[in-house]
Symmetry: C2
Subunit: 343 residues, 2 copies
């Protein structure tokens, strides 16, 4: 049996009162008597009434959904962020619409249009790697939709953002390696024009300098972002006999690549060479040797970003421009050569 969902009119008819009264009763308006409210709430339950958000939001001029745009859903880090966002918004009666840009600027722009069409109350976005141009974000500004960037953001102070202290993460990792007695530390980085990798690089450099270890740009390898590239590079480094006693990689995948080649050459990690990664992928704990890495607290980022957006939406506060989430160093076996595998 096909049945249309009940409306406030149905409730009104059942009780011989007006729809306005029903609406007000349901939203606990002070000018409606307690008796009427009780009646309305009861018949609402009986008729299985579920308010039509479309109508409500249309009338109120937007309202109860927030939009999320991110590069890839099936990355552990981003999935955690979504999870965090969802937890916050669900509690506050918001639904979330998720859009995936697949790292393409075109999709990102299209996603924003979709969200605007749905008249979302606010937007959370993490930029695709293609997004050098930010005109689409600027355009959002005068469409009056609150927006908060997370993780991958732009340098514009006009926008609120929740980002990770990448400098600090890299600084922690590098300092730790120095503490472990490594002195000749290479850095496998990503594309340095991307702010995330740039800041990790800067953290690495600063840690060296602060400990009195000379920084040598030749020890920084750009664009080593996946396992294959890391394997090739590591192989080459080993063969060339370049002096080194540690590798700090800006991603766990490339750290893994390094580990694999070191292992193949029977070079002991962490005894001879230390390796640290970044992002703390789930596998980092499970490989052998387990990989020292930087935890980024994806869920926390999602929670903070969502909370910030909700504050902007209800205007209850004007949040700071930029919120930094502090990462944490997770020391595992791949760098732990002092208290070697004690525990």
């Amino acid at each position: 049996m096909i049945r249309k969902p009940a409306t406030i009119h149905d409730i009104a008819n059942h009780l011989n009162i007006s729809p306005s009264t029903v609406s007000r009763a349901l939203s606990d308006h002070p000018r409606i008597s307690a008796a009427t409210k009780k009646l309305v709430v009861e018949t609402a339950r009986v008729l299985n009434y579920n308010p039509n958000r479309l109508a409500s939001n249309l009338r109120k001029g937007a309202g109860s959904t927030i939009g999320v745009v991110l590069p890839l859903i099936n990355r552990h880090f981003f999935a955690n962020i979504i999870s965090g966002i969802e937890k916050v918004t669900a509690n506050r009666g918001f639904s979330v619409i998720i859009c995936q840009s697949s790292e393409k600027l075109e999709n990102e722009i299209e996603s924003l249009h979709t969200l605007l069409r749905n008249r979302v109350a606010g937007i959370l976005i993490s930029l695709s790697s293609e997004s050098r141009d930010n005109s689409h974000l600027k355009a959002l500004k005068n469409s009056n939709v609150p927006i908060v960037l997370f993780d991958r953001s732009i340098e514009d102070p006009e926008f609120d953002k929740v980002i990770i202290n990448d400098f600090r993460g890299a600084y922690l990792a590098t300092s730790h390696m120095i503490d472990q007695g490594y002195t000749n530390i290479l850095h496998f980085s990503g594309p340095l024009q991307i702010s995330t990798y740039r800041r990790r690089f800067e953290g690495y450099r600063q840690a060296l300098l602060d400990r009195g270890i000379p920084f040598d740009p030749k020890k920084v390898y750009e664009n080593v972002i996946n396992r294959e590239k890391a394997e090739l590079l590591t192989e080459e480094l080993i063969r060339s006999g370049l002096p080194m006693d540690a590798i700090f990689s800006a991603s766990d995948m490339s750290a893994l690549g390094a580990l694999i080649r070191l292992k193949a050459h029977h070079i002991k990690v962490p005894e001879e060479i230390g390796v640290a990664g970044y992002v703390n992928e789930p596998f980092a704990a499970f490989i052998d040797p387990s990989l020292t890495s930087i935890e980024q607290f994806g869920e926390k980022i999602g929670i903070r970003a969502a909370e910030t957006l909700l504050k902007k939406i209800d205007g209850s506060a004007n949040p700071e421009d930029t919120q930094l989430i502090e990462p944490e160093l997770i020391v595992r076996k791949s760098t732990d050569r002092i208290i070697q595998q004690q525990r």
Copy 2:
């Protein structure tokens, strides 16, 4: 400057025509002249017009978003599914609202209400582990919203579903182990009242029987679903000296637990004992020895489920009740003792 989004009225005013004409022009109605259409489309672009989905869907009685409910977003498998869903729906002009039940029936029910409030065009749902009772699903049936279950479903033929052939996956894994010469294969399972684990168990048993290996219920260990439990159990098995030469685990995490304890006792994998997991978590490829597992093609499941739902929505086809996705055996080192680590 705060500006309201343009409406068809704005376009109509600009051109001194009626909103109806604008609406029809935009939807390419045959009774509107080509000239008018062109004018309308142009000024729509100039005014930065973005149709209000709320209004449109309200008028049309639902329409352009579909809802997804699943137990956990930050699981590799489910994240892949979402990714697949998103790919399909985005192409067809649908947005997706994501709800996370966190394995709680209460949240699952609440999520369904949220989706109904948003008048979604259809619902994709994977049940929480708590969901024994299905009355909330039955209730959906007469609310006239198309619904497709995926992965975690119920046995009711009333519902369309896209699920994995768990029997087959387990059968493949077990057969492979037998082919590798293992004859005394234990099975680490999950709670057997959950259909997924039950079917994996049955696949395991059938593979044994088909190869003439007696099935012994004592070799099946229930509820070994995480690493800790697997570690404890494996430790106990080793100490007790129970004869065995392989472990087929219904999850990668427990397979990992087994590997860890075997390694600790210097028992060689795969030479002395073979180990296979299930789900093919990302880490399976990276641990040492790499773990044989079953790939479930999460993205494909998402794609198929979404396609099925869209078909139901536009009524273009009445899909089959149940679609089985075939899993694939991924052989890695942990069971590969014949062609040992060649390649």
